[in-house]
Symmetry: C3
Subunit: 332 residues, 3 copies
């Protein structure tokens, strides 16, 4: 959320046209999924999602994301949010993710689209509410509004026959994975897992999308792109060495949360340096474990964990304030 990149002509064009400005806000909203206050990054992410959605035969996913970010931007205006946050896309990225996630897990129906619009509206209110609640602690909302509002709607889908929770995980008790599920991973599957991890940040696994997302990220910040790649590589390696389920590794489901943690702590919310790098590395590894814990916690409810582990670990490490001069000891 530190970059402000935009070419001069685009900036000037936006100043002259309310429509282009509105478009700019929405593209930056998409860019902020990976912390980029950058319209071109957002555009590339959007193309990546659209391409993946069409290739995987689920165009409604891209439509949902686009619809949701537009609704969120309009809602933020109606709520008269702070102008800087609106222009930086800070009220859009949670809705964009929600708009992709809902059609991924719920079958298409009129009520699904009501959920997408309502969820987008509420994601803005949740962003403001969480920002207020976290202000005394000095930590950002990250994707917590996306996680909370999406999980609420997915859980609620059980109670209403107007939506069909067709693609939600089965409910059940967590069981340890069988050792044979952690088979020797082929190098190609490993690389596929890295690309899928980048793509899974946007809820879908598709290799070309992952590569395009990496390109979009590099447009906004090369450092962020490098950290995303390194974060995914480290996470997959660590997970594999600990005996994670190979299928999850390859599908990118093990890597997308640690990747986000690596970018957030290594490039966005802390000053670079050796201590920061060690700290971000520890957080990245911890996110692999936290993700395993979240799956165990959520299995009886039959919903996905989304980016909950990234949010919780990043909050923890930001709260602990590495090298802050204002830190103090435990109350006693």
């Amino acid at each position: 959320m530190t970059t402000t990149g935009a070419s001069m002509p685009w900036r000037r064009a936006c100043e002259g046209s309310a429509l282009l400005r509105f478009l700019d806000w929405n593209l930056r909203g998409i860019g902020q999924v990976l912390f980029q206050d950058n319209a071109l990054s957002g555009l590339l992410f959007l193309v990546a999602i659209g391409w993946g959605a069409v290739a995987l035969g689920v165009p409604e996913v891209a439509v949902g994301g686009l619809l949701a970010v537009l609704v969120a931007t309009l809602t933020a205006r109606w709520l008269r949010v702070d102008a800087a946050g609106l222009a930086a896309g800070l009220y859009g990225y949670n809705a964009f993710l929600l708009g992709i996630a809902l059609p991924t897990f719920l079958a298409a129906s009129p009520l699904l689209w009501v959920f997408v619009v309502l969820g987008a509206l509420v994601s803005v209110i949740a962003t403001r509410a969480l920002a207020e609640a976290l202000k005394p602690l000095g930590i950002p909302v990250l994707t917590a509004p996306f996680v909370l509002v999406t999980l609420m709607l997915l859980l609620a889908s059980n109670a209403f026959s107007g939506v069909d929770a067709a693609a939600l995980p089965d409910v059940g008790f967590m069981a340890p994975i069988p050792p044979e599920a952690a088979d020797p991973l082929r190098p190609l599957a490993f690389l596929e897992g890295v690309a899928h991890s980048l793509s899974q940040v946007f809820v879908k696994g598709y290799v070309p999308s992952g590569l395009l997302i990496l390109a979009g990220l590099a447009v906004g910040s090369r450092r962020a792109a490098g950290l995303a790649l390194a974060g995914a590589l480290i996470a997959l390696l660590v997970a594999h060495l600990m005996g994670a389920e190979s299928q999850l590794v390859t599908a990118g489901l093990v890597g997308f949360n640690p990747l986000l943690t690596a970018v957030a702590l290594g490039a966005v919310f802390q000053r670079p340096g050796v201590r920061t790098a060690i700290y971000a590395l520890l957080a990245t590894v911890l996110t692999v474990l936290a993700q395993g814990a979240m799956v165990a916690l959520i299995t009886p409810f039959g919903v996905p964990t989304l980016t909950a582990s990234f949010v919780l670990v990043t909050w923890l490490f930001l709260l602990a304030r590495l090298d802050s001069s204002t830190r103090s000891g435990p109350a006693s």
Copy 2:
């Protein structure tokens, strides 16, 4: 919690008698279940509960509520709470609800009554603790102390053979409701659902109680009564259109949380106006969905959700501060 209604003679009588004053505090405590700092509202609510309890053959429910509010008021005095809050009944309403809820779900036994007394004591401590915790955020405790302490005691009942959790929901995994459970609702069942929703605010469904509660609410604030009615109507209509289980709609179990949200956001904690009305409407609809999500979350534990969805949605919408001049953007 804004009304201070009381006839002059009653006010003067209370000033002259410690006993009447104590009675007044307790009645206002009952009135605060629906945000009324009004002894007559409290009295009408109490009569409504007593009538319903006798009619449904569960007089212990009314005894429990009365006992709990008395214990809570005495506890608040012992704890030397703020005089204004005590006199306004702010330390009583959570205990009153707890005193109704425990005998509803647990079979009568000596230990049940120990639970009621202990729960009432702890509800006051929980009220103070939550008020301290929420002070930096500027939001009220609502019925969170009732929800937390009651759920704790209901969950604990599994561990002690001195109480029998006779009427708790079965534990199990949540499953989507079958479409045929959302049958075409007859208009009469719909109206019954509205009256039951009013009554279920006090944990029981009984039409005459619901009407008397509406009257008691109107005594304190006509605006609040109108919003309660509108909130219940909207919630039931929305739930029905989304395909909610008809039996739950008719029993008032779908309507009581949204109704509380509508009153809280429309009449109690925000200034009236068009924007407020739209905002409260959105929150009311969201409470219907949040209630569905809460049921899915709590099903594996075999306890009811009480007013949790009202509390969470109202906190969210109050935290987001519609039209506050002190608002600021997400930390970044």
Copy 3:
């Protein structure tokens, strides 16, 4: 966390030697499990754990505790925490408990030891993060970092075949205990339960360890030792009268959380007095019930509740601020 006891010769020796000073920090870290900023208390606790571990045939448990506290102290130095907290052992006790708990529930394997080291590292970060988050509320972190990090790693163990969750509780739905499980408790079993409760504070039940822990506590604070004993006695009596499972009472699993609550509220964080005693007594009894509720909440996930009920009840009662002059009413 108020005592600063240490004999003069030891103090002087520590001043002259960095190694002794480092040893002193670690011993105080162990002492802080029962709130004692006292190296001799810590040494006695360590001997008690070592003795119990060898007697029960699980020496890896003592090794884990020792390793974890050393790692945590080094981590705290690297993080440049406040010197006073470090010297008082406030960054060590959560790691010590984690280092005992992990080998108790997970089978020995290389990855287990990675978990111990990583968990110890993260426990320090969690201590700092929680201290920051709780600072505005003026309450201490207690053993929350231990509970959170240990539960995260135990839950995560399901996802990685490199660790074997050999000794975790079965997953399943909570069911009321059968009445015959609450049989008449023999006085000897009751006394055994008290000693086991003291020992279970450090995750293991062994009578001689319990007695040595009591001695170590008395070295630091006689008042704390008296309250621990009284807390355990009251908790076991109350639990038994309510019909708790006799086997759990005898094993000390019912008593260790209330015992901690009694010491925390009666001797450590509040000034002594009649009102404080009544308040601490109420909290101690409530912890028995909260522990029952925590077990019901955690059963579907197949992990232990550790000291969660002590932490939650003590936070609640500290937040409510008995006799504070800065208290105020519920926001309304």
